[in-house]
Amino acid sequence: MTQAAPLIILAGAIAALLAAIAIRRAALIANGVAALGLLAALAIMPAAASAPPIWTSLFSFGAAASGFIALILAASLLLLIIAAAYWPTAPTLPPEEFPLLLLIATIGACTLAAAASFITLFLGLETMTLAIIGMVAYPRDRPDSAEAALKYLILSGMSSAFLLFGIGLLELATGTLSLPDILTAPGNPMTLAAFALIGIAAGFKLSIVPFHIWVPDVYAGAPAPSGAYLAVIPKIAVLAILVRIGAMPGATLPPSAIQAITVIAMLSMLAGNLLALQQQNLKRILGYSSIAHLGYLLVAILAAGAVGHVAVVFYIVTYALTMIAAFGVIAMLSTAAVARDADRITDVAGLFWTRPALAAVLTLALLSLAGIPPAIGFIAKMYIFAAGIHTDLWLLIFTMIASSVIGLFYYLTIIIAMTQKPLADAATPLRIPAAGRLVLTLVSLAVFIFGIAPQPLISLVKAMFG
């Protein structure tokens, strides 16, 4: 047993999946192999965590990294099931490659989360990004998806260039690529420039202002399961590495960086919520909303310390659950064969009367995003407030309050649209696959139960930081 067991199992699953596809193309087999791989990797996590360390110059599988990997694996599994329920509605598309791309992206995300060197960091990031581009462009006859994939490809390429340039400068200045060594090396102007470049790349992946321009188009163009993956997994992985770096010795932000992040956080919160106000497309709204939520997360990151770290992880768990629920509902309402998903507000209007269960799940997800009990989002928001107040970040806290109030408006608009009675009783017969029901039930139960009794989750997250 080694600490890298989950990664090894994932790599094995990818090989097995390739072989399975070569032998016989069947959606059930492909999805089954991928799901088993993710499950096995998840199941081995507790045993792997107590194993001796391995490849320490490239990876660091501490409690924090293991926690993030478990989160990535669990979220990927849920998204895989949603995808498995979504793609059969498009009979012309081959269903087998999607789970393969998803597994590859997941192994990239896990690598990134556990990286201890810029080599693994960059490898993980690129593996993840390239596979996600494939996932976004998967419905090849949808022009919007092709456009979204191209947009994401070009901007990802650009951010990778920034990242590589930054890594190069760091190597030049310090002579090493190992994260702990670089952090403890004496700073000079070159490292500062390097970190600024790397920060831009991270900002792009986290989709915070001013690196957010791509978000609404890509979210809206991507098919719902890919959009969900894009909204959840890269953010977890990038935050994982940021939180881990933040917890390393020598990782103190200079005052100028703190000021810059403060401004970015405030702009993200306000811009995300303000731009969402006029949108009519649910996926665009979720995209803008994610910009605002990353702004909230930056507050917790700035708060740092014990409360701050737990707040970040608690928030990202909440965000993942909620986004999976919201995108899951859109995926279940949509048909992959037509040119666009059922992602407009008019598509969910009257949902309470036609499909009350889906409406309830979406309502719970929106309440969670808005931070209202009994959804988990309320506890998460409280956690960020607590972290911010604890460290006297009053400017950020009041910006967060103001933008939360703005945010309430568009969440509520969607909820109220769902409650309005449809004029004609034209409930299209829509069969929701059992797999989709399973995921939505699981996710909404988690959102609800952890919203009422968050202590177990808090204890779990606290364990990640010793």
């Binding site: 209202i372 309320f378 309050i401 509520l412 109220i416």
Partner: protein
Amino acid sequence: MSLILLLAIPILGGCLAWPAERVGKTWPRTISLATLAITLAIALPLLHPTNAAWLADLRLPWIPAFGMSFHLALDGMSWLLTILTLILGMFAVAVSWHEPADKPGFFHANLLWSLAGTIGVFLALDLFLFFYFWELMLVPMVFVIAIWGHENRRRAAIKFFLFTQGSGLLILIGIIALAFLHQRQTGQLTFDYFALLQHEPAGRFGFLIMLGLFVAFIVKLAAFPVHVWLPLTHTEAPTAGSVILASILLKTGAYGLLRFVAPLFPIAAHAIAPAAIWLGVASIFYGAILAYGQSDLKRLIAYTSISHMGFVLIGVFVFNSLAWQGVVFLLIAHGVSTGALFIIVGSVQHRLHTRDLNCMGGLWTDLPKLSSFGTFFILAAMGLPGLGNFVGEFLILRGAYPVAPVATIAAAIGLIPAALYSLIAIQRAFHGPPDPARHTHDFGMRENAMMLALAAAIIWLGIYPQPVLAVAAPALSNAADPAA
């Protein structure tokens, strides 16, 4: 243990009422009424003679990571408000006995959940738990307004939601800051009411925390100038929703001021008292004058609530037990009288399909029972001596005079516009020549019984207020004027 039942039964009842609509259209309302009756049967015996300040107390661990506990407790004031909530909740169910036609199960589930949240607000003594219930009572009410409201319901629901939620965030920030401040002073992180009572957060910071809570609570109370959500919301909500909003939810604002702002921040609350008292006076006049100008009967009643809550605001911030007893008394009397008025307006709208006073007139000829009850409750709301509201307002003014004589005189003058809008409402709605084209039926058995019960309650409160005052007094004398 029975405190948990007070919350659990309405919540479970809601979960039962929702699917029950599949069994039959009448099941949800029966379940709701039964649920509330059972809860009432549990709540009533909780009042027992005792020397302790609290009638019941229950503390369970909830989120130990933040020192938050599931702490419920009951004293005379919260007992009275809980009973008010349950009884008026039953009236809200009874008034919508034949409606709504659409999704009655979800409607009743939302009513029950909102009531459960309100009871939680009245019982919670952990500040975070209090806030949790504070938020919880809101969402179901938004659904009630948004789904079953009148023509402008979308806007009303959004406005209500934004105002209460936005101000709620001030409470959240306030209590977290309060708890951390307490932690800095004592080293212990807790949200428990009794622990936080020990140390008043001093200085500017304490004042700001108090201000946040104060603003949030007067938004809920709908005092001038943060009342703007109230007229639209109360007008557009369905009758049951208006009854709950006006009779119960408004009271949570006053309760928050009495229970939290005054005892937790004695010095800071005294500092803001003059401003609060004059805001109260402004509310009295503003509400009365705008009520006078309304042609929509429901809107008129909504504005009168602003006026009455002005008295409540004055009473809270003069910090003496006489005025505080008056506040609790007025909360109950106003709950009963305004609830009755909204039921009557709902009946008028049901019969005439309008709330416009210009289309009314002469109702007394066509609907004698409805009109006489209407007149009675308008006079009660106006503060006619011998009826409940008078006692509350009198006690407030009596308690306020030694503290703030000028403001008290101004508030008392505010009773004159109250008489004006009351009489004009009676005259325009009920008097005058009847409309010959109007074919409608008067109150039936169910409505007569409801009205008689509420009228009896208002008369009893008016001529024999002592029992209610005796229940409320111990809770208030303990909390009142610690700084005086």
